[in-house]
């Protein structure tokens, strides 16, 4: 596969405060467009921190982030939000917005500070709902949804943003097999449409289903990066998770088992 690189990270170094140990150490990465990059690693390896640095919410102490070859420090907030969306792991919405109202919030980057969403924004939101298979539920309230539907609503909200880069934090956590499949299918179809998808996950098997590229992260450093077939082997995974891991193949797809 030959994908154009959209984001490249160079020598990133990050710690939450001067006293605490670094979370990311001299990390370099390239994120290709039109492909799914899975960041895999144990709890506390720095996956979510890396995602928030990509988003621009955290700034690394050292290193640089180039988006389309341009340093992202100069990128205004509004432009950044049109470029990049986030589907967080857990998004508690304290009020019972309808799904449509919630997905409409994804249009914010395309609207001014005092602007209200217009007919066109409603259309984009409905298209996003349609892709998530939630059209029939458009007027249901967010708290009344099941966990899987809520995850799909979050994806639809990010989709309404029409971003070129979409960051997912643990997209399949707490989902049953069916919903996991629906979410991963959406991720795949977005990547096929040219979006650069970056997802963190604990679950190597979610990565084998959907990812093109894998980044194995352990204690803030990469163990290995590259295409799934080349990287997801038992040696690399054992080193990443610190226990022996077996990789076998079922019907041509790698399956990861702790041993």
């Amino acid at each position: 596969m030959n994908h154009q690189v959209i984001i490249s990270l160079e020598g990133l170094h990050f710690s939450y405060s001067t006293l605490s140990p670094p979370v990311l150490k001299d990390l370099s990465l390239e994120i290709p467009a039109g492909a799914v990059t899975a960041i895999l690693g144990p709890n506390g390896s720095g996956k979510t921190t890396l995602l928030f640095i990509l988003l621009g919410m955290l700034s690394p102490q050292k290193g640089e982030i180039l988006i389309d070859g341009v340093d992202q420090k100069g990128l205004p907030r509004s432009e950044r939000s049109r470029l990049m969306g986030l589907v967080p792991e857990d998004e508690h919405v304290p009020f019972d917005f309808s799904i449509l109202e919630y997905v409409l919030l994804g249009r914010a980057p395309h609207l001014g500070l005092l602007e209200l969403p217009k007919e066109r924004d409603y259309q984009v939101a409905m298209e996003a709902l349609d892709r998530a298979g939630l059209t029939a539920l458009a007027d249901r309230s967010i708290p009344s949804l099941s966990g899987g539907e809520r995850q799909l609503a979050k994806v639809a909200r990010a989709l309404a943003q029409s971003p070129r880069v979409l960051l997912f934090d643990e997209p399949t956590a707490h989902l049953d097999l069916n919903n996991k499949g629906r979410v991963l299918d959406m991720i795949r179809s977005m990547a096929d449409d040219g979006v650069a998808v970056v997802m963190t996950t604990h679950d190597p098997n979610a990565a084998t289903v959907v990812a093109d590229h894998v980044v194995l992260l352990r204690a803030g450093q990469t163990v290995a990066t590259g295409p799934v077939d080349a990287v997801l082997n038992s040696e690399n995974l054992s080193q990443t998770y610190g226990l022996s891991v077996e990789v076998t193949s079922v019907r041509g797809r790698p399956v990861v088992l702790p041993w």
């Binding site: 988003l55 109202e101 007027d139």
Partner: protein, 337 residues
């Protein structure tokens, strides 16, 4: 839009029309409610044949009615906005040291600075804003928890500080003249309101509610978690601070004039969300209309029911609590789901 959404949209338009009609009706009827020429009701014909009635309506009832309505609008809107940006439906607009600050300022003024309404209001306003500023500075320097938790903790601490100050002042006050006045002020009321008071609160309230109204859709985004809001291009801390200051400024001037009128800022946002849903594009204007009407109805009762004035705070708490219980126990026909 889907078919379902269009039906929904129609229902909401109808509810807003209903609210608007209710507002106009209550505002108009309030002019004729009172204790002149006899308790409860003044026939409209008095307006063109009785000079005293004309003066009464123009100089006493009208400014008071408008002030009550604006007070309710401000508290309702501020409550809605603060509950959203703090992501907490239990927040009420005075909690950041504002209500207790105003109470302290009023008590201080009644004992030491002078009892004329102008001085009491100025002092109450000054300390209401001091409460906000102290809470804010305190929150910035607390080295614990996230932004919301820090502000709430700072607000609780500042309120406690000022309410103990009020306690001290009550203790020091002359029990025959000053103490009753302090107690009466603390219960809240609009009996002394004139056109001057209305002009005093109007500029601040207009600017503050104007800002909030213009930002009404954006406020939805501020109810999301920081990282999501950020990913949608929002500057969470800066924009929350802006709407916070607008909401609290309106509350501060209103509380300085009306005293501590409880429950409106807490209960009205809930009623507004029940009626038109949580989207602030609708919940914010609805909470203004409902808050204004609620405050005005309570104030009408306060000035009409007995020969003497009933403190407004008592009625708002009583009616607020009753409505709250009623809505919770009812079959939720109005609830949008």
């Amino acid at each position: 839009m889907t078919e379902v959404s269009k039906i929904n949209e129609k229902t909401i338009v109808r509810r807003f029309l209903l609210l608007g009609f209710m507002v106009l009706a209550v505002l108009t009827l309030s002019l004729f409610v009172g204790r002149y020429p006899e308790p409860y009701w003044m026939p409209p014909s008095y307006l063109w044949r009785d000079e005293l009635a004309q003066r009464l309506v123009l100089y006493l009832r009208l400014p008071r009615i408008l002030t009550a309505f604006i007070m309710g609008m401000s508290l309702g809107a501020a409550g809605t906005v603060l509950q959203m940006i703090f992501r907490n439906p239990l927040v009420s607009p005075g909690f950041l040291g504002v209500s207790q600050g105003a109470a302290f300022g009023a008590a201080l003024s009644i004992i030491y600075l002078g009892r004329s309404p102008l001085i009491v209001e100025a002092s109450a306003t000054f300390f209401a804003f001091s409460g906000l500023i102290i809470s804010y500075l305190l929150a910035r320097n607390i080295r614990y928890g996230k932004w919301i938790l820090r502000l709430i903790l700072a607000g609780i601490a500042t309120s406690a500080l000022f309410s103990s100050g009020v306690g001290v002042l009550k203790y020091l006050a002359d029990p025959l003249s000053e103490l009753p006045e302090i107690v009466f002020w603390l219960l809240g009321g609009l009996w002394s309101v004139t056109w001057r008071d209305l002009l005093y609160i109007l500029p601040v309230v207009l600017v503050a509610l104007g800002v909030l109204f213009l930002m009404r859709w954006r406020i939805n985004l501020l109810s999301l978690r920081d990282e999501t809001a950020f990913s949608l291009g929002v500057a969470p801390s800066r924009e929350r601070a802006l709407v916070l200051v607008a909401a609290v400024a309106a509350t501060a001037v209103v509380v300085a004039v009306a005293g501590v009128v409880g429950w409106i800022g807490l209960i009205v946002p809930h009623i507004a969300r029940w009626v038109v849903g949580p989207d602030a594009r609708r919940a914010l204007p609805a909470s203004m209309l409902i808050g204004g009407t609620f405050a005005l109805l309570c104030d009408n009762l306060a000035r009409t029911l007995l020969a003497g004035e009933i403190p407004l705070g008592i009625l708002t708490s009583l009616a607020g609590a009753l409505i709250f219980v009623w809505v919770f126990l009812s079959d939720h026909r109005w609830v949008r789901r």
